[in-house]
Symmetry: C2
Subunit: 250 residues, 2 copies
DNA sequence: AACAGAATTTGACACAAATCAAGAAATGCA
DNA sequence: TGCATTTCTTGATTTGTGTCAAATTCTGTT
C-alpha cells in the first residue's frame, strides 16, 4: 500500500494528530472529511509477534498503520504460508464492504494502528467522493506492487529475490529519511529470516545461504544478523535483476 | 478483474450496447453516467497474437474487454516473462491518472475492446462518484486475485499450479454458462502451453508433463490439446491444494 | 492429400532449492 | 552471570523443475 511522491493528496486517510512522518501524509489536510474521520477513529496497539486478526474472522473496522510493521499472510491447509503484503506506516488495512478478514494480519514489530469503525467509514465514503478516490489511488498502487511481486515470485532466482527485498527495504528506509537511495546505505532488516522466506517464496535456509553469499561477494555487509550496509546501491539493484527504478513495492 | 455476484452495481463500466453476457453487467444500467460514457467511447479490435500495447508506451485511453481474451505480462531484461493478469470480457485495462502502460497487453484470441479516451474519463470520474466507487470495487477484487496468485506462485507445486489454473478456467466457464461448477465439466483451454507456463511461473515442458500426469491419473480427460473434460470437479479442486471456494482469480 | 510450420509431448540429464540435521550465535530471563 | 530459548548458519543429501534435444501431433495452406 505504497504511494508515489506525486500522489500526495489533500485528503489522506491518515488522521491529523497521528505522529507520522511519511510522504503520504499531507500538510494540507485540514478538511471536512478529516473532521469526520476524527469522530469515528480509535487507536489500538499490538506487540511484536501478536496477531491483529485471523483470516475469516469478523472485521468491523478498517485501519491505517501509524507506527511499526505488520504483515498480511495467506496459508494452505498443510501450513505452507505466503506473505502477500507488508504494511508500513500510513498503509491501509481492511476493505470497505467486506465483513470478514481475507488474510492473517500479524505485527512483526510493536505497532500502533488507527482504526475506523467500518459502517461509519462506509457511510462516509458514500458521502465524500474524495475518500473513495484516494482509496482507489492507494489500491491501484498496491495492485502494481502485487504484480511486481508476482514477477519476483514466478521468475526470479533466490539470489535475485533476496537482492530485490534488500533494495526495497533500503529504498523505503531512504524515503523515510527523505533522501534518494544512492551510494552507501545502512538500515535494519525489519523481518526475521523466516518472514523473509515467506515473503519471497523460499525456505529460511535458502534465505540465510543467499544472504551469506551476497556478503561473501561484497554486495552487502552485515553487523549482527539484522543490520545491513550496502556499499553500492547500484550493484545491489543490478543483482535484483530488474530496472524498475522506484515505483516499486513498499 | 473479476467481480463477485453480489457486487453487481447500478453503474458498470461496461456500455449499454456491448454484447456481453456476463455477471458483471447489470440490467439496471440506464443512468446519467452511462450516457456520458457513451459519448467518449470507441471500439478497437485486435487479432489473436497481436500486441495491444507495450509496457512503457503512451496510453491515452482506458478500456474494457468486450469479447475475447487478453493478457497482461511483465518481463525482465533477459526475456523471462511473467503473466500478471488475464483479461476476460468486462475486465478493465488501464489506469486513470497514468500516462504510460505499465504492462504488455496482448490478445490471445481475437478481441474487441471498448475504449474511453483517458482525459474525458478522468474528468468524468471527478464529477461522478459512482464511477470511482465502482472502479474501487473492481480494483479491490483484482488485488485479491493477485494475492491469491502470489500464494500459487510462491508456494504451490507444479501439479497444484496446473490444477488451480484448470479449476479457475472451469469455474469461469461455468459462470458464463450461469451454473455452478460441479460434477462433470467440459471446456476449452484459452491459452497455449507457453502462456500457461508464463502465468504459472513454470516452463512449457513442465506444464505439458503435469497435464499428461493429471490425464494419466484420471483427474482430467483430453480431446486434442485444448479440449478438457473434468470428470470430478471436487477431485480437481483437491489437487489444486486450496479450499478457496470461489472468490478466486477470474 | 501433401506439405510446412507451429504447438506439444517425451526423454535424458543438470542444477537450484528443499529437506534433514547439527551446531553456533544472539536474545531474554532468572 | 549463566542458562534456556529462539534465531540463524552451515553441511550433506534429495528432489522437483529447468534445460537441451528429438520426436510427435496439430493446423492451416496450396
Amino acid at each position: 500500500m505504497q504511494m508515489a511522491h506525486d500522489d500526495v493528496h489533500p485528503v489522506s486517510l491518515q488522521c491529523g494528530d497521528c505522529p507520522i512522518r511519511h510522504r503520504a501524509v499531507c500538510a494540507r489536510c485540514e478538511t471536512d472529511e478529516l473532521e469526520l474521520l476524527e469522530e469515528i477513529k480509535y487507536y489500538r496497539s499490538f506487540e511484536a509477534g501478536q496477531t491483529v486478526i485471523w483470516a475469516g474472522d469478523k472485521m468491523d473496522f478498517v485501519a491505517s498503520v501509524v507506527t511499526g510493521i505488520a504483515t498480511l499472510t495467506q496459508t494452505l491447509e498443510d501450513g505452507r504460508t505466503q506473505m502477500v503484503g507488508l504494511l508500513l506506516p500510513s498503509d491501509f488495512v481492511g476493505r470497505p464492504g467486506r465483513e470478514a478478514a481475507a488474510y492473517n494480519v500479524t505485527a512483526t514489530t510493536d505497532i500502533l494502528m488507527c482504526c475506523f469503525r467500518r459502517k461509519p467509514f462506509e457511510e462516509m465514503m458514500e458521502r465524500t467522493p474524495h475518500i473513495a478516490q484516494r482509496l482507489l489511488q492507494m489500491t491501484l498502487d498496491e495492485l502494481d506492487a502485487a504484480r511486481e511481486w508476482m514477477l519476483l515470485l514466478g521468475r526470479k532466482t533466490a539470489r535475485e529475490k533476496i537482492a530485490s527485498l534488500l533494495s526495497i527495504v533500503a529504498r523505503r528506509d531512504a524515503s523515510i529519511k527523505l533522501r534518494a537511495p544512492a551510494g552507501r546505505m545502512t538500515f535494519d532488516l525489519p523481518l526475521t529470516r523466516e518472514a523473509m522466506a515467506d515473503y519471497l517464496g523460499l525456505t529460511l535456509e535458502t534465505v540465510s545461504r543467499q544472504i551469506s553469499a551476497l556478503k561473501r561477494d561484497g554486495v552487502i555487509e552485515l553487523e549482527g544478523k539484522r543490520h545491513v550496509t550496502v556499499p553500492n546501491m547500484d550493484r545491489l539493484m543490478e543483482e535484483a535483476g530488474d530496472d524498475s527504478d522506484g515505483g516499486f513495492l513498499i
